[in-house]
């Protein structure tokens, strides 16, 4: 009897596996980039790009199909797109999700909620804010060889290894839900023939409240995390010099009690100077010392400006509150938020220029 049951079970397993509805990978529309703009009447205009892979002969050139729909919510966008698409939609491979600046300023909370719930979405996907229309950026189709999604994804990924701080959905959600920290996203701008990273947008809860241009991004990354890449230029004497970071370390120190906290941010940078524009001097240790001093002053000034801005906007992208929470057992969020605008933050920069290239 037992064997008979087992036999029937096995047979049905084999035969019924054919009845399972499923879509093979070439039959589905794989959305790799999605953009959201504000539409008319409080609606959302969603734009997606679906790569169309050629038949086996010409696999190199991938064309894209762009679909734009008006919908009431993010999930509604998916539903509306399904109406327009000839094949079923698969969102699992979504790599970049873009939001227009107006939308970000109005608040992304509801969208973030959807993103954080959907188990199909990769936590490694990138979010970004677009100056102007997100749909326009997606539809531009910059190069023949690459799809927009690959282009934008590559753009953010490459820059995350350089001047821009790491930002993925995971990082964003961590900062969004974490106590005593606020998220930030890279800011994209569409130029004539290309897309560029133009800065960083800072959020308070789901709302974009502030931004910095790309010239200040290096300072922000330096304050935020350890890294060993990136470049920063600085006017020096009559010309300008370019610094190539080879190792930057940042350390937060908390002093005082919860009622009267103060912070010390210690940064130590090792760098090379490779380019000296408009300077007609042979590099020598004295000059390096001078440069170091100039950089330290510059970074201190920049850092203090940034922190001042954060305090004004009452945002904490550096995560100082979260840091305080790990150091003080009597951490109180409301109290912290009260104190934050008057917080005493001391930035110390230690710079070492280790080499200035080959010269004769």
């Amino acid at each position: 009897m037992r064997n008979k049951c087992l036999f029937i079970f096995m047979i049905s397993l084999v035969l019924l596996s054919g009845c399972m509805p499923n879509q093979s990978v070439e039959e589905v529309a794989i959305i790799q980039i999605a953009g959201y703009d504000l539409g008319e009447d409080e609606r959302i205009r969603g734009t997606v790009s679906i790569p169309q892979y050629g038949k086996s002969e010409d696999k190199a050139s991938a064309t894209e199909l762009y679909l734009t729909v008006d919908a009431d919510s993010v999930k509604d966008v998916e539903k509306e797109i399904k109406k327009q698409s000839s094949s079923p939609i698969s969102t699992g491979k979504l790599a970049v999700s873009l939001y227009s600046r107006e939308m970000a300023e109005k608040g992304l909370s509801s969208i973030i909620d959807v993103l954080s719930r959907d188990p199909r979405l990769s936590r490694n996907m990138y979010l970004a804010v677009v100056e102007g229309e997100a749909g326009e950026l997606i539809k531009s189709g910059y190069t023949q060889e690459e799809t927009t999604s690959k282009n934008v994804q590559g753009l953010i990924e490459t820059n995350n290894h350089h001047n821009f701080p790491t930002s993925s959905l995971h990082d964003f959600l961590y900062a969004y839900y974490g106590q005593g920290m606020n998220p930030f996203l890279p800011l994209l701008k569409k130029q004539e023939t290309f897309v560029e990273l133009s800065g960083i947008a800072f959020f308070k809860k789901g709302k974009m409240v502030s931004m910095i241009p790309d010239s200040k991004v290096f300072t922000f990354k330096m304050l935020k995390e350890n890294f060993s890449a990136g470049m920063q230029d600085l006017p020096f004497r009559e010309g300008s010099i370019m610094m190539d970071n080879i190792g930057s370390q940042v350390n937060y120190k908390m002093k005082g009690t919860m009622d009267n906290p103060s912070f010390e941010i210690n940064i130590s940078i090792k760098a090379e100077v490779n380019e000296m524009l408009g300077l007609d001097v042979t590099p020598n240790p004295q000059l390096a010392n001078e440069m170091e001093k100039a950089f330290v002053d510059y970074f201190k000034k920049e850092a203090n400006e940034l922190i001042k801005m954060f305090k004004e906007k009452e945002i904490d992208p550096l995560g100082l509150g979260s840091f305080a929470k790990t150091r003080r057992r009597d951490f109180d969020l409301t109290k912290w938020e009260e104190h934050y605008p008057e917080l005493d933050i001391d930035v110390k920069v230690d710079m070492e220029i280790t080499e200035y290239g080959i010269f004769s």
Binding site: L13, V14, L16, S17, M20, N22, Q23, S24, V25, E26, V28, I30, Q32, P51, Y53, G54, K55, S56, K59, A60, A62, S90, G92, K93, A95, R120, S122, K150, Q153
Partner: protein, 507 residues
Amino acid sequence: MWKWKRKGKQKSSKQQPSNQQSTKQSDTIPKFIQVMSNSEDFVTYTLSGRTKCTISYIKTMCDSKILNRSVLTTLNDNHLHTLHDMQEKIPVEDIQITKDLDVIKEKVMVGYIMLQVRDAKEEVLLIPAVSLEAREVSVPEVEFSVVGPKEAFVETLNTNINLIRKRLPLPQLNIKEMNIGKVTKTRVAIVYIDGIANQDNVDTVTQRLEDIEIDQVTDSSFITQVIADNSNSPFPQLLDTERPDRVTSNLIEGKVAILVDGSPHALTCPTTVVEFFGASDDYFLPWHLATAFRLIRLFAVIFSVLSTPLYVAVLTYHHEMIPAELMATIVSSRSDIPFPPILEVIVLELTIELLREAGARLPTKIGQTIGIVGGIVIGTAAVDAGLTSNVLLIIVALSALASFTTPVYQIGNTIRLIRFPFIIGAQLWGLIGISMCMVFYIGHLIKLQSIGRPFFEPLYPLRLKDLKDSFIRLPFNKQTERPVLMRTGDPQRMNSSRVNAKRDIDE
């Protein structure tokens, strides 16, 4: 309805007397001779020279040299009247006099010469004149190795035992023999080293062999299947090998070997699953190289079992797992294919299995051609015709290749087969289906035993000491103890302090 079923049941309920065959046979020597005379090759005649006696033997089983040179000449040259005289005079070893009809029958059947004198009707003289037609000891073909000994077992039990004994000149090397098979009465030998092998293992093997109820034992694989702890398992629970060196080293570890007359393979037990992935080559190479190759082999097995199921699962359910760089390649190669991935995989897997079966059945020379023709021509044709994708062709070919890396042929067959449940699981529930199959197989392996010893041993139960020679092979000076699995009576292989002592010339 179901008449065929009822009929079958009725038939099986009729108990046949089990020893019908033996009772029918002769119970006296003349009757035995009469029965035997039905065969043309049974010769019986009376000598009327100086010695008067009756000689009976099976022509096809006897060595005529012994008969002509030793037996007949002695009998004709001397006046011998009693069997005892003959026993003394005939220059052949181990001549016996017996009354026992069972012994007589058994011996005559294997090629002994039977001598009768008129005075003693009951007693006969049995002269061993067994002629053994045996193949020469040749190079191992299934478990070939580039370095190391190049001897393989042959179909003769005596030669095989000789191959083992000459590597183990030990008085403790015990060989127990028994006859198995109601009809074939095949000689089966249990070989072990007394004092090293655990007596429980020896007893288990002996008892299981004694209890075998089977009519024929054509090959050692019959024994494997019959005495396996779980006969329904796809995993072989006794390791079969054709290399005497491998058997010898297993015996030294404390294992028990079973040799079957007529089979060029020895069985060793208890065994573990990792042992099936170890080749004898591993011991002929430096330990780090051997370790690396073992790990490669292990990877090959995992790859061989899981690559096509993963292909099905990922392409059917988990599109997000395809790397973005591969997306274009996979999608465009799949776009011409009219089948879903599962059908595509089954078609190609079956093709490969067909090729293998054909290759195994065909003579060697044609087999090679079939391999090449099948591999290249059918593969490219299938891709051109749009039946399978390029990517899958590579995956299937690689997994077929990987399944050949197992040093033991039996486990290779297992690996060939167990991927099909995985493929079905992958089609049904994607990665979850694969995990379910995996859980099922691992559960099965954990439960499996080899002669009462855990089959999944160094992993479950976890015995760290035995991991020294499983996935990795540590150098010989680190392996001073016999495996725990064997529960050997003498766990120390060698003195570890003396092994590791530095022997410099200055000291």
